[in-house]
Symmetry: C2
């Protein structure tokens, strides 16, 4: 056993059960240490709940010995619109611009713009990508949708037939962590806004799962602006607690029944 | 009867049935003429299928005597990100920026930025708003999501409890007209991407219906890039044909069964 080689003294001084449990803990730490996390973060205000949720994640992961990279989209003035400027140099067909076809070719030739290349490198290196954002209109804020539209280029994130379970990012985990304006009751099956899972379909299935990501259950912080300090603190604690064992989580079964039944 | 006063000669020379049918046609034209349409359009290439679908709509509506306004988002370099710049003058709470609260106040005081005010005026005047776009990642392209994030401000498009059937835009019609990358089969109940209606929920229910719009059935042009000229022409013709009687259409029943059953 690896453990015996590493800690022979410890082993001699403990009974088997204790040794085993320490071994598990150490194994976990070894497994976590060195993991890479990318947080794609979209909030204008560092003091916001989203800012705090992002900070909590950075703290927990750093304590685990993971490296954490952050794409702070508003601070970066990240461009949301998908335009010709995303391709440096000549277009394949300047007479009829097709964004998808042109960015796919540009990716192959290595002539995407610097901003996209940089984000793709961060994704490529990450074991886990966390999207931290306030829900805007049942979806991502536009600045984060723009990050997805521009970074997940064909050839990089997917190709044909490399989609869904064969998506090019299939070795990675993804998780949506977001705050809502509406309450949990509004986002229930009989609430005015319907089951929250309904709106997760395009984001989790149509984007994450499409690119191959293994999707972890979302972290939803309901209506922080309408609750008290205690509740907000609890939301942060519950996120911190969950992140301590996030590497052991099983991804969700990303098929229609999870969303609509 | 109004008709008799307008066309006494015609009436004397025709039988009752003919008179009635002409009356219906004329009534329709009177009903359509003067209607106002806003097309929010997001494509980089004028020669694209989306560009053609937009042009077809302009033609048909102008023939009907409607006025048509277009927000051509890429040409306008429309800003997608929701930032402090959307509020001119002083913030209510510059120490802790909350986009929703600040834009609501700014709307009331009339100090939203010029770009937003202009778009809100177009929406206010419109009887029908058409969103014309290529589906990007099961949703709007970011530039169009940004238009929604920034234009549909609380106080303008909705308020509490003025949401859904009481939304502030409840006298208006909305329709999504979009092209897809995937085929109709991929977007079927047993296809890899699931029923197309699943992904319409956040856009139609969470945005349009939330603001009170009466939602017309979407116009979906499947995979124009992978079909022949004949099929693309048919898509344009079918859109043109539908628009001829669009003012008579009944809105969809925007509740979960429409989407998920």
């Amino acid at each position: 056993m690896q453990f015996l080689k590493l800690f022979p003294e410890t082993h001699r001084n403990l009974d088997c059960l204790k040794a085993a449990s320490i071994y598990v803990v150490i194994s976990k730490e070894y497994a976590m240490a060195g993991k890479k996390v990318l947080i794609v973060y979209a909030h204008q205000e560092p003091k916001s709940m989203n800012g705090s949720l992002k900070n909590v994640a950075v703290d927990v992961f750093q304590k685990q010995g993971c490296s954490v990279d952050i794409s702070d989209l508003y601070s970066m003035n990240f461009i949301a619109a998908a335009t010709r400027n995303d391709i440096t140099g000549e277009l394949c067909n300047p007479q009829h611009f097709r964004y998808g076809a042109e960015t796919m070719e540009a990716f192959k030739k290595g002539v995407l713009c610097e901003e996209i290349i940089k984000e793709q490198k961060k994704v490529q290196e990450a074991d886990l990508v966390i999207f931290q954002f306030p829900l805007y209109w049942f979806s991502f804020p536009a600045i984060m949708k723009g990050w997805i539209d521009r970074v997940f280029v064909q050839g990089f994130a997917f190709d044909f037939p490399s989609i869904y379970y064969n998506g090019l990012l299939k070795e990675k985990l993804a998780i949506l962590s977001f705050t809502t304006g509406g309450t949990e009751e509004m986002f229930s099956k009989n609430g005015v806004s319907g089951d929250i899972r309904y709106l997760l379909w395009p984001m989790q299935h149509g984007i994450m799962h499409f690119c191959g990501f293994k999707v972890l259950a979302p972290q939803i912080s309901y209506a922080p602006e309408y609750t008290g300090d205690k509740e907000r603190k609890d939301m942060l604690l519950s996120w911190a607690k969950r992140l301590e064992t996030i590497w052991e989580e099983q991804p969700i079964e990303c098929t229609p029944p999870w969303y609509f039944q």
